[in-house]
């Protein structure tokens, strides 16, 4: 399974990248895009949206099905990848490059509690 070791993961198939500025970048995993199939719609949150870990934050739809995307950790949305909503097929092309939003976590330590690539590989299989 493709899952870079430099990233953290959730059981709901988000990947989380720790940036140097105290924010994290979030997308969905390659495993998730493959399961969804051809992606045709993405609805991103508004900058400033706040939520708890596990709370719904975005919606992604493929030809086959609709699926929710969740806050990987509690925090506030500080940026969104607006361009991706017009080219959602980029998620199929390269799920780990197609970032969706950035969050400023309420507690920086929460990210460390997420799954490693190895744990995710077990969880998703």
């Amino acid at each position: 399974m493709k899952a870079p070791e430099t990233l953290k993961y959730t059981a709901t198939h988000e990947w989380v990248k720790t940036e140097g500025d105290g924010t994290v970048t979030v997308g969905i995993t390659d495993h998730a895009q493959e399961a969804l199939g051809d992606i045709v719609f993405l609805e991103l949150p508004k900058v400033g949206a706040k939520g708890a870990a596990g709370e719904q934050i975005a919606v992604i739809e493929s030809v086959k099905a609709a699926s929710d995307i969740y806050f990987p950790v509690a925090g506030e949305v500080v940026a969104i990848n607006e361009a991706l909503t017009t080219t959602p097929e980029q998620v199929n092309a390269d799920a780990f490059a197609a970032w969706m939003f950035k969050i400023k976590p309420d507690n920086a330590g929460d990210v460390d509690k997420l799954m490693s690539a190895a744990d995710y590989a077990v969880s998703a299989s």
Binding site: E34, G37, D38, V40, F41, E43, E61, V63
Partner: protein, 367 residues
């Protein structure tokens, strides 16, 4: 708790897996949903040639002197329309309540031999129903589900050419064959000019033992393997009903856009006719095109119209139109061109009512 029954497999199962197909449980069958991009598979059928393993569908042979009489009473459409050997007819199979047990295609070959092709998930129920009617009516037919057959649907503007490149021996018998006709082959199988995509093509019934070789030869001839995902977007664009989704035993065919297949005019009696006569259509079956961004139309979403509420029965994103489209049952009196609202999650989004189909023979007809 009992363990779930193992999924049934077609004779092409190993081929699909070797080709890297994503497999899903489709009505108890382990079937390919795609081999990569479902949208690319869709376009292959609209512009060139693609093929589907439809071996899960059931061929049922009806032999006996009274077969035409039997089907005249058993089917909602009228087999009297089948006058030329090979001619095919789409029909619903109704129960006494006038709701839909299945939809099927009936082929007429001789006065003592008709062949039906029925859906996978309903096949056992259908055969039991036919056997019961045969016993009740004393029609003395031999009704045989052909478990020894497999079936490949080859579809697209170049489908027939590519089939002939592989099956040179059937070219003579099928070159002049009109759409919605079938041709019996020497091995007992059949080549029919039918399909479920809105494109030209053949549905090829062959002995299960030879289907793998045929599939591989068709791949070599440039026919692209396509999964059930593309099959669904193609049939939806073509405005074709899917049994179990757009109609079932809770739905009257007159409410499901199938009035054209039900013959209520002639004196002929058939199972379900009295119920249909007593209960005229209350809804219409139409197409919807989403007019704004905000999601994808899906089955069971609510449709709000000035005449009352309706429901989407099938919805998807149309690869040919690059818009979300749906089939829906809505109240009578909403005209094509009307704008209605569809409830998607917490939003109401505008959708336009259109006549079906959306797409036929590679061309977008609805907008």
């Amino acid at each position: 708790m009992t363990a779930p029954a193992p999924l049934k497999q077609t004779p092409l199962n190993a081929i699909h897996r070797a080709a890297g197909a994503r497999m899903v449980d489709f009505g108890g069958w382990d079937m390919p949903v795609n081999y990569g991009s479902q949208i690319e598979e869709h376009h292959a059928v609209r512009t060139d040639a693609g093929m589907f393993d439809v071996s899960h569908m059931q061929v049922v042979d009806f032999h006996g002197a009274r077969v035409r009489e039997f089907l005249t009473r058993a089917l909602a459409n009228n087999v009297a329309k089948l006058k030329v050997p090979g001619k095919a007819l789409y029909s619903c199979l109704l129960n006494e309540q006038g709701t839909v047990i299945d939809d099927l295609i009936a082929y007429y070959f001789t006065e003592d031999f008709f062949r039906l092709v029925v859906n996978a998930g309903t096949a056992e129920k259908d055969v039991a129903w036919f056997n019961a009617l045969n016993a009740q009516w004393g029609t003395g037919l031999t009704i045989t589900p052909r478990k020894d057959f497999a079936m490949i649907a080859v579809q697209g503007p170049k489908a027939r050419e590519k089939v002939w490149a592989v099956l040179a021996n059937i070219r003579k018998g099928t070159e002049e064959m009109k759409p919605f006709n079938g041709f019996l082959t020497d091995d007992g199988g059949m080549v029919a000019r039918t399909g479920y995509t809105g494109e030209d093509g053949f549905e090829i019934v062959v002995p299960a033992t030879s289907v793998e070789a045929l599939w591989n030869q068709l791949v070599a001839a440039g026919v692209r393997p396509c999964g059930l995902g593309a099959r669904d977007t193609l049939r939806l664009e073509a405005g074709m009903n899917l049994y179990g989704q757009d109609m079932d035993e809770t739905v009257n065919p007159l409410d499901a856009g199938l009035a054209w297949t039900v013959d209520l005019q002639s004196d002929r009696d058939f199972v379900g006719k009295a119920a249909l006569k007593a209960k005229p259509a209350t809804q219409q079956f139409i197409g919807l095109i989403l007019q704004e961004k905000g999601g994808v139309l899906r089955a069971h979403q609510e449709v709000l119209t000035p005449a009352g509420k309706g429901e989407i029965t099938s919805g998807t994103f149309s690869p040919s139109m690059q818009q979300s489209i749906a089939l829906a049952r809505i109240p009578l009196g909403v005209a094509p061109g009307a704008i209605v609202q569809v409830v998607i999650r917490d939003k109401q989004l505008a959708a336009k009512v259109v006549n079906l189909p959306f797409v036929r023979h590679g061309k977008v007809l609805a907008s």
